[in-house]
């Protein structure tokens, strides 16, 4: 049984995601969720997320309310990544790109205002690769010839897709549990991947490559409010179901 079962159960899983999750443009700076809520959601996500060989070769760094400078540093890595990706696209002759958004800052598209949730939030979770130690069962399997690729730092990039899928499952579970606590969340996958880049902005304790990040707090404004205000809400649709799912 879940030791932390919330007595004020409201919505089911589908409706929680459908009605409550929105990308946050801005969090309330003076409303800080309790550490207890964050701990509870993290515990639930850890407890219920499966992993190949029970290895879970990733680590969650939690940047709390007092880590303002560090979160601004992480935001700078997001902006830098965005700029680099666009500039490289212009240089890549296989692509149609001829300009980058950062070429003309007067448009207001650079830096992207929808990355600000990374800098200004009560809590930020960054998830990174981690060298895993096999449990007793897999130690014996390794002696029999089983390949435990999660145990080697030099294989991080080789197995990054399967680790990232697991991180995605963890992030989905954590996201749901945070929403269930009445909190708002936003994801981000635009950032510098190399730990050395993190060291350049003073984040020396980060030793391994980041995989994704999630911000959390109480939303003051959602991205969709801006998009609606611009009259472009109907333009921003996900692909149709038939384009994503194919029955064979």
């Amino acid at each position: 049984m879940d030791d932390f079962e919330n007595p004020k159960k409201k919505l089911d899983y589908f409706n929680t995601l459908e009605q409550k999750r929105r990308h946050v443009k801005k969090y309330h700076r003076d409303m800080i969720p309790s550490r207890k809520s964050i701990d509870r959601a993290l515990y639930r996500a850890w407890k219920t997320t499966p992993g190949k060989n029970n290895a879970m070769p990733y680590k969650v760094h939690v940047w709390g309310p007092d880590m303002e400078i560090q979160k601004e540093a992480i935001h700078s890595l997001v902006v830098k990544s965005h700029r680099n990706v666009e500039e490289e696209a212009v240089k890549d002759s296989r692509l149609p790109n001829t300009i980058a958004q950062c070429d003309d800052p007067t448009t207001g598209n650079f830096p992207n205002p929808f990355y600000e949730h990374i800098a200004f939030n009560p809590y930020l979770f960054t998830i990174h690769s981690r060298v895993s130690t096999p449990n007793k069962f897999y130690k014996e399997k390794i002696e029999e010839g089983h390949q435990y690729d999660q145990g080697y730092e030099h294989l991080f990039e080789h197995i990054i897709d399967s680790v990232s899928v697991e991180v995605g499952i963890f992030a989905a579970n954590l996201g749901y549990y945070l929403l269930d606590e009445g909190l708002d969340i936003s994801y981000n996958s635009c950032f510098r991947r190399r730990p050395e880049e993190w060291h350049k902005v003073g984040l020396y304790k980060i030793k391994t490559r980041p995989i994704t990040m999630i911000s959390c707090g109480y939303a003051e404004r959602y991205r969709e409010e801006d998009v609606k205000m611009w009259g472009k809400y109907e333009w921003d649709r996900k692909p149709e179901l038939k384009d994503i799912i194919e029955w064979m």
Binding site: D2, G51, Q147, G168, Y187
Partner: protein, 229 residues
């Protein structure tokens, strides 16, 4: 039952019953997962292929590839010097869920996709929409794989709510050409994950119990995975 309790009940399936779940239940869960899974730039740069119980030949082909991938991975480890032996090529019985006759097999591959109208205009202003370009699939595979992970987490939960069982598998050849070579024509782009769905007849943990080894196969401690800065 709470979501936490439902997920706590999930176990890796060794064998499924021959009775297949109705297609409508799978369709409903797929729709809910599509509806509630977010994506960068609303791109969803992946495609979900569903092999029903009647697609036994295809499921066998995927299973063969899983087995070969496992052997190759062990051989590579010996060649690279960080293992001294392999398991000798014996099929891992816990991969069998991939080809079980009563179950569905879901294979998810990366797939480039054109931007929606909102992002079309952003591209005109200089935004790089990486999800549209096949040559960038490998470079951004971590981002796509995180999103696929979120999709299967949601899909898995909706299937569990329908009293179905699910199992994941990430051991297979990444080169889509290997899939095409054995006749799996859907594999135009890099595979990301496979998942099986059905009614379980036997779970992996039941084997571990019989062997008296459930206490040996534990996940890392919470403190090893979560660090407050």
């Amino acid at each position: 039952m709470s979501t936490f309790d439902l997920l706590e009940k999930r176990h890796h399936v060794k064998r499924y019953l021959l009775e297949s779940p109705p297609k409508e239940i799978i369709e409903k869960a797929l729709w809910k997962a599509w509806k509630t899974t977010p994506s960068k730039n609303n791109g969803m740069p992946y495609k979900v292929f569903v092999f029903g119980p009647e697609k036994q030949k295809e499921k066998e082909l995927v299973h063969d590839m899983v087995h070969k991938s496992h052997i190759r991975s062990e051989n590579d480890a010996v060649k690279a010097g960080f293992a001294t032996r392999t398991e000798g090529g014996a099929p891992n019985p816990f991969y069998a869920h991939v080809k079980e006759p009563g179950a569905y097999l879901i294979c998810i591959h990366a797939e480039p996709r054109e931007p929606n109208k909102f992002y079309e205009s952003a591209v005109e202003e200089g935004m790089f929409y990486d999800q549209a370009h096949p040559e960038y699939i490998d470079r951004f595979i971590d981002t796509t794989a995180v999103e696929v992970g979120m999709f299967i987490a949601n899909l898995g939960l909706y299937l569990l709510e329908e009293n179905l069982d699910i199992s994941y598998n990430s051991c297979f050849m990444r080169d889509q050409q290997k899939w095409l070579d054995v006749g799996l024509d859907h594999a135009k782009y890099r595979p990301v994950i496979t998942m099986s769905v059905g009614y379980a007849e036997k779970y992996r943990y039941e084997n571990l119990k019989e062997w008296g080894r459930t206490h040996e196969d534990l996940k890392p401690e919470y403190e090893d995975m979560i660090e407050w800065r």
